[in-house]
Symmetry: C2
Subunit: 438 residues, 2 copies
C-alpha cells in the first residue's frame, strides 16, 4: 500500500513528464475523462447513495448539518455539470510553454521567460465531490501533478469519481502517477509535512479548516480563511443602486465568503440606513448596531454590536452596522478589521470613489456592484481554483493562472561572463525581442 | 523605544499612504536620497571605519573571514555605486497602478486587474551595507514598506546610511514610517513571528542563514538556500564553446550561487573531460570524481566523490564530476540532486537541447552559455532583490516585479448578482477591453 510520501514522490516524478505533455494529448485525455464520467454515472450515483445514507444518520445524531448533506449529493444533473466543467477546460488555452517575455542580452545571447507548471499541488477540500473533476482537469491542462484529499463524508463518491477519471487516462500519454487520492484524515497531516515534495497547498473549506492548514505547514498555501467583506454607503449615493447592491451583497447568498458582514454608512446617509434596515429585517437579517445606529434604529428591534462583531464572519443572515464620519473613516475600518477579501463603495462622487478604490487594501474593491460578483466564473476565468487573500503569487478569485510559474531559458553560443567584466568589459544590449522560445 | 512589533505596525499603516504616492513624489524622493548619500560620504565612511576596525579584530581571533571584511568595506567608489543604483531606480517605470487586464463582465460592469505593491517586506541580509540603499529605493519606488536588518558587523555603517536616507525624505510626500531599521539579532526572530503584519521575507546571505529563516517563519520567503548548479556536456558538443563555458561557470567567481558545483559529461565525450580537467587543475580547482571519471583522470591526482558531493554547494574551487550515459541521465541527476537554480547544456544537437531545456526543472536553464549569467542585472532587470528557487510568486533572478501583486477593481452601476442567477439569468459578456483603470 502506498503511503502519502510514496504518492508524493511518484507525483513529483510524473510531474516532469506531465509538464511536457502536448496540448493535443492533454485535450484528448480531458475528453476521455468527460466520457468516462458519462459512462459511469450509475456506479458514481450508487457510491454516492452510500455516502448520503451514512451522512443522514450523522445528521440525526446532530454530528452533521443538513446543508452539508445537500452539498454532498451527486445527481445526474451534477454529473452533467462535472462533464461540462471538464469540457470547459478543454477550451481554455494551454498556458504551458508560452513565452512571456524575450530579451536580447547581447548578440546571440537570448533570454526567454517561459510559462511552466508549478509541480505538485496538494488540494484539500471538504465534502463536495465535484472538486475532483474540476481540479484534476485544471491540473492536467496546466501540467501539474495533484494530490487530492476530500471530506470523509464523501469518501465512497470521491473514490469512485477519482478511479473513473484515472482509468480513462492513457498512461503513455499522461502519466497516471500525476494524480493521487488520499483517503485518511492522518494523510493530510502527513502531506502538510512534505515541503520538499509538494509545492503548493490549496485548501477549500471552513475558516477553521483553512486556518488549520495554514498553521500546520511550511508549504505555501493559496486560499483564504476569513471573508469579512464590507459595503460602505457614502454621502453622495444613488438610492436605488445602494439599496439593491447592499441587499444583494448580504441576502442573495449569505453562506459564502464574498457576502458582506458589515455595512458602513456615512453619518449624513442615515435616511438610507433606515430604508435598507427595514428591507433587511423583512428578509430576516439580524442587525447588530454601533451606538449611533442603535439609537437611530431602536424601533426596529436591533441588537448592539460588540468589538467582536467587526471581526466576525457570520456566513448567515446577520449583519453588523456602523455609522462612520467619512470615506477615510470607512477605509480605516475596513483595512483594520476586514480580511482583505472584497469591499464595495456606493457613491456617485469621484473623489470618494478614487479614494476608496485606491486605499482599500483588498483583493477585490468595487464601485456600485455587489460583492457577490467576486468569483472566478463571474470574473471570466472559466474555472476557479479558489479565492486568495494572500499578497503574493495570486490574489483574489484565481483560475488556472494560479497553477503556473515560469522559468528563464537562456540561449547562447559559447557566451561567458568573464567577457563582460573588467576594464575591457563587453556591454549588454538588453534589447526587447518579440520572439517565442518554442 | 520602538520594539519590532511597533515598527511593523507603523510600517503597515504607512504602507497604505506609500502605496498611493505619486510617481513624481517618489522620483523626487529618490533623487533626494541619492543627494543625501553624496553629501554625507564622510560620516558614512567614518562609521564604516569603526565597523572595519572591529571586524579586523574578529578576523585576528578567527571569528570572521577576510572576505567578509572585504564585503563590509565602504569606499568612495562604493558610495558612487550606491548613488548610481538609486538613480537607476528613478529610471525604472513605476509599476504601481498599471492595468494588467481589463474585461467587460456585462454592459456597464467592468473588471480591472491593477498592479499594486505587496505591503510590508522584511529584508534580512548579512554584512553588505549597500543592500540598504538598493532595497530602500526599490521598496519606495514599488510602494512597499520595508523592515531592514543587516549584519551585526556593519551595524554602524548600516545605521549611518539608513539615517541619512531616511532624513532626506519629506514626510508629507513619503511616509518615513514606511522604512524601519532593526538592529538587534533578537529582532529577526521577533520579526519572523509577525505573520499578521509582514507579507514577505527576503533573506540574503549564507545557506545556513536562509535555511534558518525558511524554517522559522510562516511568512512567505523569497530566495534560495542552495545553489547547486550543473553543466552537462553532451555527445555533440562544440569544443571551444564547451571549454569556455564550463571554465567560466566554475572559475570566473566560484563563491556565488550561480557557479557550477557539478560537471556532468556524456560517456562519449571523455576527450573533452580530459581537456577541461587539465584547465581546471591549472586554475587550482580540486576535482572530485565518480568511479568512471576517476579511472579516466587518475593521472591528474583527482579525488573520489561520495554521494554527499552531489548535494554539496562548495562555493569554492572544488568541482564534482560524473560521467553519464545520456542527456536523459543528466536530467535525472540534475532534477534529483540539484537545487533547481541554474543548469546548462553544452550541445549542438537540437533534440538534446530541447529535451534538456524542457525537462530540467530549474529557475534558469541554459544552452551554451555560462551559468554565471543568471543574475538580475545581466538579465536586464536594473536591480535585483534576489534569486528565487521558489516555485510560486517569483522564480529565478527577481527585480522589482517580485515586490508587486495586483488587486481587482470592479466598476459597476448598481449591478447585483441576483440578476445573473435562476431561469431568467442575464448572461455575462466577458469581452476583453483595452482600457486602463487610471
Amino acid at each position: 500500500m502506498e503511503n502519502v510520501r510514496d504518492k508524493a514522490e511518484k507525483a513529483k516524478r510524473a510531474f516532469i513528464e506531465l509538464s511536457n505533455a502536448e496540448t493535443k494529448s492533454k485535450n484528448i485525455s480531458l475528453e476521455q475523462m468527460a466520457d468516462a464520467l458519462d459512462k459511469n454515472r450509475d456506479k458514481i450515483i450508487r457510491a454516492n447513495k452510500e455516502d448520503v445514507k451514512e451522512a443522514k444518520l450523522l445528521v440525526e445524531k446532530g454530528e452533521l448539518t443538513k446543508s452539508l448533506v445537500k452539498r454532498l449529493e451527486v445527481t445526474d444533473s451534477k454529473i452533467d455539470e462535472m462533464i461540462s466543467g471538464i469540457r470547459d477546460v478543454v477550451k481554455l488555452e494551454d498556458p504551458v510553454g508560452k513565452t512571456l517575455q524575450s530579451l536580447e542580452l547581447d548578440s546571440g545571447l537570448e533570454l526567454y521567460k517561459v510559462a511552466t507548471p508549478i509541480g505538485v499541488i496538494g488540494m484539500v477540500f471538504e465534502s463536495r465531490p465535484d472538486v475532483i473533476p474540476q481540479i484534476m482537469s485544471l491540473a492536467l491542462k496546466s501540467g501539474n501533478s495533484v494530490l487530492l484529499k476530500g471530506g470523509r463524508e464523501s469518501s465512497n463518491t470521491n473514490r469512485e469519481i477519482f478511479e473513473t477519471l484515472l482509468k480513462s487516462l492513457d498512461d503513455k500519454e499522461i502519466p497516471r502517477d500525476a494524480f493521487k487520492l488520499l483517503e485518511k484524515r492522518e494523510d493530510v497531516t502527513e502531506m502538510l509535512k512534505l515541503d520538499r515534495l509538494i509545492d503548493l497547498i490549496i485548501p477549500r473549506g471552513s475558516n477553521e479548516f483553512v486556518k488549520f492548514v495554514q498553521e500546520n505547514t511550511k508549504i505555501p498555501v493559496l486560499g483564504h480563511a476569513d471573508g469579512i467583506c464590507h459595503a460602505y454607503v457614502d454621502e453622495k449615493y444613488d438610492e436605488k443602486k445602494a439599496l439593491e447592491v447592499c441587499f444583494d451583497s448580504k441576502v442573495q447568498y449569505p453562506a459564502v465568503c464574498n457576502a458582506i458582514e458589515t455595512l458602513l454608512v456615512h453619518q449624513n446617509s442615515t435616511d438610507f440606513l433606515e430604508k435598507i434596515s427595514k428591507l433587511y429585517q423583512e428578509a430576516g437579517v439580524e442587525l447588530r448596531c454601533c451606538e449611533k445606529s442603535f439609537e437611530l434604529l431602536k424601533d426596529l428591534n436591533v441588537k448592539k454590536a460588540t468589538e467582536e462583531d467587526w471581526v466576525t464572519e457570520y456566513n448567515d443572515l446577520v449583519l453588523s452596522i456602523k455609522i462612520v464620519d467619512s470615506v477615510q473613516d470607512s477605509v480605516s475600518h475596513i483595512n483594520r478589521y476586514g480580511s482583505h477579501h472584497t469591499d464595495v463603495i456606493l457613491t456617485e462622487d469621484k473623489w470618494a470613489k478614487d479614494y476608496f478604490l485606491n486605499f482599500v487594501d483588498s483583493s477585490s474593491v468595487m464601485l456600485n456592484a455587489s460583492t457577490r460578483f467576486a468569483d472566478g466564473f463571474r470574473y471570466g476565468k472559466g474555472a476557479e481554483i479558489g479565492i486568495s487573500t494572500e499578497k503574493i503569487h495570486a490574489r483574489g478569485p484565481t483560475g488556472m493562472e494560479g497553477m503556473l510559474i515560469y522559468k528563464y531559458v537562456l540561449v547562447g553560443n559559447g557566451h561567458k561572463v568573464s567577457d563582460y567584466v573588467g576594464s575591457q568589459a563587453k556591454k549588454f544590449t538588453h534589447v526587447k525581442l518579440d520572439k517565442n522560445f518554442k
